[in-house]
């Protein structure tokens, strides 16, 4: 296969999902897809299922700098971006970089932060730069944000508005691991210590090269574009859905499908790639009608997909 760095990427997945993050294959893959297509990922699940562990393990094997934000209601934007501090020695203000100046940023419980802080974070995610006191600082590349949120908790939270959710390439849950896997996890105990000792498997250069390959080597046919558009259009005209997938959602879906094809070792995108990433990249962008809010967005999008003909010619 002429897809560069694919073996390394697969190795990352294998190592993480097979040795450390048991039963989290899907989440790991989606994280890598987000990494490869230059998006961010929102892990939405109840606490204690390994969201943070996943982020930590990823940062460990990817050889990227890691920053962590534990969101609380009093977290200020400057706590994320950093701030200027007067240096006595030098007699001037020096910009102290915040945790966002890292390749991999874990934003834990993002919905606990104030909207003001959220929006500062999301702006950084989208623009990949931070402007503090009139000076713009470029964020490092690659830049991957892994945000987590607890959907059940309601008190003292500021749920992300839909416009903010749209900034995340992928939104996925982790889910409980299968019974035997969970038993093994319980038996093995916490692996936080092991994760700390993880050595990087790939370099930043490798990741950048892989991203380039995804962007340039994987061919996206017009048929697939049509297929993606049909999905997007179907969500817009669906009676249960108030507002469907945005154009950005369509772009993200195509990018994610490319990354999926890359991981599968194909130089072209097939409808199955789209299908595999459609729900993680699309479901969280849907805004349901008031009377259908109780519906599961992922299931709804899955049902929409089942009614769309796959282009086979």
């Amino acid at each position: 296969m002429s897809l560069p760095k694919r073996a390394e990427m697969l190795n990352v997945i294998e190592t993480l999902a097979g040795r450390y993050l048991l039963g989290k294959m899907r989440a790991v893959r989606l994280s890598l897809i987000a990494l490869l297509s230059g998006g961010h990922i929102l892990l939405e699940d109840i606490p204690g299922l390994g969201k943070t562990t996943l982020a930590l393990a990823l940062s460990g094997v990817l050889g990227m700098t890691f920053g962590r934000l534990q969101c609380t209601s009093d977290l200020l934007p400057s706590d994320i971006t950093g701030l200027s501090i007067f240096s006595r020695e030098e007699g001037k203000f020096i910009f102290m970089q915040g945790p966002v100046f890292n390749n991999l940023v874990l934003v834990d419980e993002i919905n606990r932060a104030m909207p003001k802080t959220q929006s500062a974070m999301l702006e950084a995610m989208e623009e990949r730069r931070v402007t503090v006191e009139g000076v713009t600082y470029q964020l490092p590349s690659p830049f991957l944000v892994i945000a987590t949120q607890n959907p059940v908790e309601q008190v003292g939270t500021y749920p992300l508005p839909e416009s903010q959710l749209d900034r995340f390439l992928i939104c996925a849950g982790i889910g409980y691991p299968p019974e035997n896997v969970e038993k093994a996890i319980i038996k093995g105990g916490s692996i936080r210590d092991e994760i700390k000792r993880l050595t990087p498997l790939v370099s930043i250069e490798d990741i950048l090269e892989a991203r380039k390959a995804v962007r340039e080597k994987v061919y996206l046919s017009d048929k697939i574009v049509d297929y993606i558009f049909t999905i997007v259009a179907a969500t817009r005209s669906h009676p249960f859905i108030l507002s469907g997938i945005s154009t950005r959602g369509g772009i993200n879906m195509a990018d994610a499908a490319r990354a999926h094809a890359y991981l599968e070792g194909r130089e072209f995108v097939i409808p199955e790639d789209v299908k595999a990433v459609a729900v993680p990249t699309g479901a969280h962008r849907l805004i349901l009608g008031p009377e259908h809010e109780a519906l599961d967005k992922e299931e709804l999008l899955g049902a929409v997909l089942k009614n769309i003909d796959v282009p086979i010619v």
């Binding site: 046919s221 048929k223 409808p271 199955e272 089942k306 003909d309 796959v310 010619v313």
Partner: protein, 633 residues
């Protein structure tokens, strides 16, 4: 490249010719000439030597002829003026300028002309003309669609061939319909308009009056008289009985109504069964194989002297079944009216009278007198001749004692006359002698030139005995017993059997036959209890027909690219192999490969999607490979 206009011009001439040719002989002289002239003119117009008529002139010519012939219309003369007008209109259209309207008119008028020809002749060649005409008209209609769009359109030879193929396909498609309509179209029991009776040919051979010497020459016509289906019989016994002439009035033998009421019967002999299809003729007498025993057919009349006739005249073809006896005598129970059959006119020549009396004196009985007369005929050395016949005031006398040459009328009437003079009851029978056996159709063809007259002599104890005095002619075998062979004869027989079947199947297809066909079909449907294998056969046949239709529609609907066809085949194949797992259109190919974990399926999907999702056409090698993989699924 061929100019459409040139082809249309040629087709117009051919169409006009096909339409008018069957009618040509029945036309008056001026339309005949005008039509030929128009054909020649059309040729020169096409060569651009002459300019076509345009404007008011053609309408004026047509109008003038129309008025002229319209004045000739009468109740008895309907067809003749009509066909003349038709052909003149056709001729005028041929020399008119070439507009689509004129081409269409030529087509229509030709069809009418051909249809009109059936008023005069019911020959089987009609179907040939019709088929050719429809072919040509279909071709010109197709070409006309080009012509109306572009007057100077031209076609390649291949295109022309396609046009002809289209026309042929139209003809082929219309044939089954024609057959169906022929079978089911309602038809009356009698012809609606019987023009045949007025237009019938003048009978030249057979007539109900034998008048030797009336003309010095007899025409030799090969027109068919009848066709009799039956087995082959000895050539020398082929006497076809028509009419009995029992009275000699002046010099002509005529028929007077027979009043005698006694039973007659054939004198034994092997029975001969025949089905006779006579050609339409002006007289009502039915020709039957001598000696008839019984005749069955519609509305028949039988005279005691075994002359059969139709009660009502009228055209139309009929058929009748006859049973005859292969013998030469008619047995009579009871006594005949001797005086009636001995009546002779006054003013016979002394030579005839003396010859008759001499025979009467020498012979003691009727039988002896007959043999004496036969001896006289045999020893005199008469010659059979069709030309230079005796034609003086007393032709019988001239025949007997001077020329000693004549046709059957002279032989028979002189023989019968001499018998009557010598006191032996006798009469003339007019009919036909001979017949060409058609091995193909298994029937005898009797033509007008076989018309013949012979004598029946009444002998006590034997009844009426047939005697053919012509057979005493020294050259009789050569003159009458022609054994025609050779290619021409065989071709004639072939075309005649074609005509025969045409009459059998088409011309005589009337209401009776129609009802019979429907009844047969009805009972066949009711009795439809096929044996097992036949049921299976018909089931599979109808399944095959359905499948063909379905296949055709699927192909029409699915006529896509090669990729489309092959992937549809792939999905159909999987659907057939795994009928329990329906394949929804929202399932991707890779999902199928995962679902049906088969190496061939996987390989197919890999190769196929590798091309299709890269927006690349499949190469020929890939197509072959995929087809190979499809076979393994």
């Amino acid at each position: 490249m061929v100019s459409v206009r040139a082809v249309l011009d040629l087709l117009a001439c051919v169409i006009a010719l096909l339409g008018a040719a069957p009618l040509f002989l029945y036309l008056d002289r001026p339309p005949q000439l005008l039509f030929l002239l128009a054909l020649v003119a059309a040729f020169f117009i096409e060569r651009k030597v002459v300019r076509p008529l345009s404007g008011f002139l053609p309408t004026a010519i047509s109008g003038a002829f129309f008025i002229f012939y319209a004045l000739q219309f009468s109740r008895d003369n309907l067809a003749q003026p009509a066909v003349n007008i038709l052909v003149i209109l056709l001729a005028v259209r041929l020399v008119c300028e070439r507009a689509p309207r004129n081409y269409l008119q030529v087509c229509a008028l030709s069809l009418f002309s051909l249809a009109a020809s059936s008023l005069f002749s019911l020959s089987a060649s009609f179907i040939v003309y019709l088929a050719l005409l429809i072919l040509c008209i279909a071709a010109s209609l197709v070409l006309l669609t080009f012509f109306t769009v572009d007057r100077d359109a031209s076609l390649t030879l291949g295109g022309l061939r396609r046009v002809v193929a289209t026309a042929a396909a139209m003809l082929a498609a219309s044939l089954p319909l024609m057959l169906l309509f022929f079978l089911v179209m309602p038809r009356p029991q009698f012809p609606l308009w019987d023009l045949r009776a007025t237009a019938a040919d003048k009978v030249a051979g057979f007539s109900d009056r034998v008048n030797p010497g009336a003309s010095s020459q007899v025409r030799d016509l090969r027109t068919p008289v009848l066709r009799a289906e039956g087995e082959r019989l000895p050539q020398a016994r082929l006497y076809w009985r028509g009419i009995v002439l029992n009275t000699l009035r002046e010099r002509a033998w005529v028929r007077t109504e027979v009043t005698e009421r006694h039973n007659v019967g054939s004198g034994g002999g092997a029975p001969v069964r025949q089905t006779v299809f006579p050609e339409p003729s002006a007289n009502n007498y039915l020709i039957v194989f001598d000696v008839p025993v019984s005749v069955s057919g519609p509305r028949l009349r039988q005279d005691p002297d075994l002359v059969f006739s139709r009660r009502r005249g009228g055209g139309g073809r009929i058929r009748y079944e006859t049973v005859s006896s292969l013998t030469d005598s008619i047995r009579v129970s009871g006594e005949i009216d001797r005086g009636f059959y001995l009546r002779i006119p006054d003013g016979l020549s002394p030579r005839i009278l003396s010859l008759g009396r001499r025979i009467a004196e020498q012979g003691g009985s009727d039988r002896e007198r007959l043999s004496l007369l036969e001896d006289h005929f045999a020893s005199t050395g008469f010659r059979y001749s069709m030309r230079d016949l005796p034609g003086s005031a007393d032709p019988i006398d001239e025949f007997l004692f001077e020329k000693k040459a004549g046709n059957c009328e002279f032989f028979a009437s002189s023989f019968a006359l001499l018998l009557r003079v010598s006191g032996v009851p006798s009469r003339l029978v007019a009919g036909y002698y001979g017949g060409d056996y058609n091995d193909l159709g298994g029937y005898y063809l009797v033509t007008e030139d076989m018309a013949h007259v012979w004598v029946e002599v009444y002998l006590q104890g034997s009844g009426w005995v047939r005697r053919d005095p012509s057979s005493f002619a020294v050259n009789f075998a050569g003159a009458r017993g022609r054994g025609s062979v050779g290619l021409y004869h065989r071709l004639r027989m072939l075309s005649d059997s074609f005509n025969y079947y045409w009459n059998l199947a088409v011309i005589t297809y009337d209401l009776d036959k129609q009802i019979r066909v429907f009844n047969k079909a009805n009972s066949a449907v009711r009795k439809l209890s096929l044996p097992f294998w036949e049921k299976e056969f018909s089931l599979s046949l109808s399944a095959a027909v359905l499948a063909t239709a379905a296949w055709y529609f699927i192909r029409r609907r699915r006529r896509g690219s090669r990729e489309e066809r092959i992937v549809r085949r792939f999905i159909r194949r999987l659907g057939r192999k795994y009928p329990r797992e329906p394949i929804s259109p929202s399932t991707g190919l890779n999902e199928l490969a995962d679902r049906f974990d088969e190496p061939a399926v996987r390989k197919f999907v890999e190769v196929y999607s590798g091309a299709v999702y890269r927006d690349r056409r499949l190469t020929d090698g890939e197509i072959a490979m995929l087809n190979g993989l499809l076979k393994r699924i």
